[in-house]
Amino acid sequence: MTAPVVSVSGVTKEFGTTRALHEVDLRVEQGEVVVLLGRSGSGKSTLLRHLDGLERPSAGAVEVLGEDLAALRPAALRALRGRVGMIFQRFELVGSLTVVENVLTGALARLRGPRLGLWSYPRSLKLAALTHLERVGLLDKTYQRADQLSGGEQQRVAIARALMQDPRILLADEPVASLDPESSDQVMRLIREIAADDGLTVVCSLHQVDLALDWGDRIVGLRRGAVVLDTTTDGLNRAQVMEIYGRVAASTAELMAIETELGDVVAGTTVRDGQT
């Protein structure tokens, strides 16, 4: 048995008095496509940010690609981040730069020193960037300003930027939340394709059950920072997911006041399916 690619154990994260994550356990195996499901504020972004070392847990440990993030020195942490690609709801491209310049910034972790402008990257990287752009179907937009592209196109540029990292893991934080249904479909299909072709491990947060069922191998449901659902999507339908959610919701509402009991409820209703 190989070691998991991502291993989160007992992670709690507090921002002042807000508890964003509550004793989260999560193991992700090589090649899995895991969907984090949960309403806004349930802790999806915070969990993803922990997987890239952008947040440090208040308690618990995060291991990514066999490395304990808390033990890494800054340079090693940057190198690790280089192997973890991340895409965002709002794409986060530099709008005034060209598409290809944005893609090239994905290679920064492998380069020493800052870069400014196309000419500052070696030819081999430029070729790689163009190859990734071709893969996401945007080779014809190479030299356009990023902010002149549609939302769906911008997200595909962001994917190409992530590919530029040669990542082992792809983290996606609500990648389609600001896209129309057609572009969403295109983006999610691309992510799945890349995951299959490159053997990438994907952790992707979504807040719509239907999308999660369509695109995930496995669904991890978050509620108020706690994992309340963890199951493969095989044979699962929307009603079942909603039912589990509904049950948790009702019970939680009743037992909210008593924290220990909340823990029990969470444990009792979770459909555990760690191994795939």
Binding site: D52, L54, R78, A79, L80, R81, G82, R83, V84, G85, M86, F88, R90, E92, L93, V94, G95, S96, L97, T98, T105, G106, L108, A109, L111, G113, P114, R115, L116, L118, R123, K126, L127, L130, T131, L133, E134, L139, D140, K141, T142, Y143, Q144, R145, Q148, A158, R161, A162, Q165
Partner: protein, 551 residues
Amino acid sequence: MGRLAGHGAVLVMLAFGVYSLTTLDFSWSDVATSVRQAAKVFTLMDPVSLPPPGDLAYLIGLTLGIVVLGTLVAALISIPVAYVSAENTTPAGWLRVVGRAIGVVTRAVPDVVLALAFSLTFALGSSLPGILAIGIHSIGMISKLFADAVEQIDRGPQLALRAAGGSRAQEFWSAVFPQVLPSWIATVLHRFDINLRGSAILGYAGVGGLGYAMKVAFADFPQGYGRGLGIAAVIFVLCVVLEIVSSTIRRNLLGIDAVGNSLGRRIVRTATGNRPARRRPSGGAPAGGVEAALRRPWTRSRVRDLSWTGAAVVVVVASYWLADVDFSQVTWQYVLPTVQSFWPPNLGSHTLGDFLQALLVTVEVAFGAAVLSLVLSVVVGSLAARNVAPNGAVRGVFRTILVIFRGVPELVLAIFLIMITGLGDQAGVVALAFGGVGLLGKLVADSFEELPPGPERALTAAGATRGQRFLAATWPRGVPSLIGNSLYLVDTNIRAATVLGIVGGSGIGFYLTNASTVLTLHGQVTTLVIMVVLTVLAVEGIAAWLRRVFR
């Protein structure tokens, strides 16, 4: 309680301003006398003339070269200073403090003082003291505005690069700098305009170019005044022309519309019919595979960007050549002693009382000028406000008056500088008051126009006259911002009065001139600059307090 103290403070400051005018022996008859004196000079001087074309071209080239290079030096140094100063890019908290301190100190030391202090280290007639003086002094403004722009960017792309494993420096150059590049260029161009205006005064510190030629001409009393005025006119035209150029660049290159009300910007706006700047779509579709896509197509935007870059390089190289920069003119063994000589601050053979007395004179000039500006601005500014002026024609006339006041001071200042030596502090007061009306009058007009119209409408409905409406509704609501703007004027006046004092040999500027030309007296320069900075900070503190009280 707070309000009462606030009212008290405002009254005290007004009283101090009026008192300043009396102690500076300021009276309208004096002004009349000096106007008569000026008239006499005008009759005795040679006819207004320009230097021969060759000389004129050389002087213009030298002036522009020094200002371009000085501004460029400041622009480049401002990048690392802003990098450590901005909260979202600084590598460490203490560096942030250092960066902001560099900004405050460089802004506080007048470029004239720097030019005088550097003159030792360089051969006579070298352009390097001027370049360095402009370069160091301008860091303050450019780095502050640049750091503010960095703090206002969209943090998303920066965090995305951090998530991808980028270092802080990589984040800055790949995600932050491209976002703030337009505002950096705009700030630098704006500073260039200011430095060009200031170069007239730098001439008085011996920095070559039009300013120095003007000084030499004016030294030849009274015949040379004709030549002096000719050069002053050239400086004025040059300032307006380059302001038009820089506004145009900002418009076309950066999509930033010409704003503000200085003369050059108004001309740009009129000439372009006030159309908003347009951004053309860029990019193109390379056909045929990845290899082919390596070649970037020659799109309009690429050609345009490259042309601008090329033009900028040409301007810089030309400036280097025009300014005749020659590093062999540096007396290297003086460099370190010059820098060291500024520390520690000391009083030399003077007493703190001497310095305080001089500072008081400078502050009196600043306050006296501010009071004069205030009185005139309330009248002119009110009549330039849409909701106060009786009709559009009156508003138009007074708006135009304000534009002239704002556009002309470069020249007016220059003319007054001539008389300052003879006239002393009154000339400084008049020069500052004149420019102040342009600034404060516009702020008054704008702040009145921004008031919500409700109360005036209510009074009109109740049958109040125009005057009643102004006194009961407009004026009371406009006062808080009037106080704030007046203190802002006092603040800029103190800095300006210091520089005028350097030229006219009065107030704290008198001691600054004496101390900055002798290496062993540089400790006094530091003392004097600290005193000015503390005074300005005190005024800013009072302004902040009053803003809170009258909010």
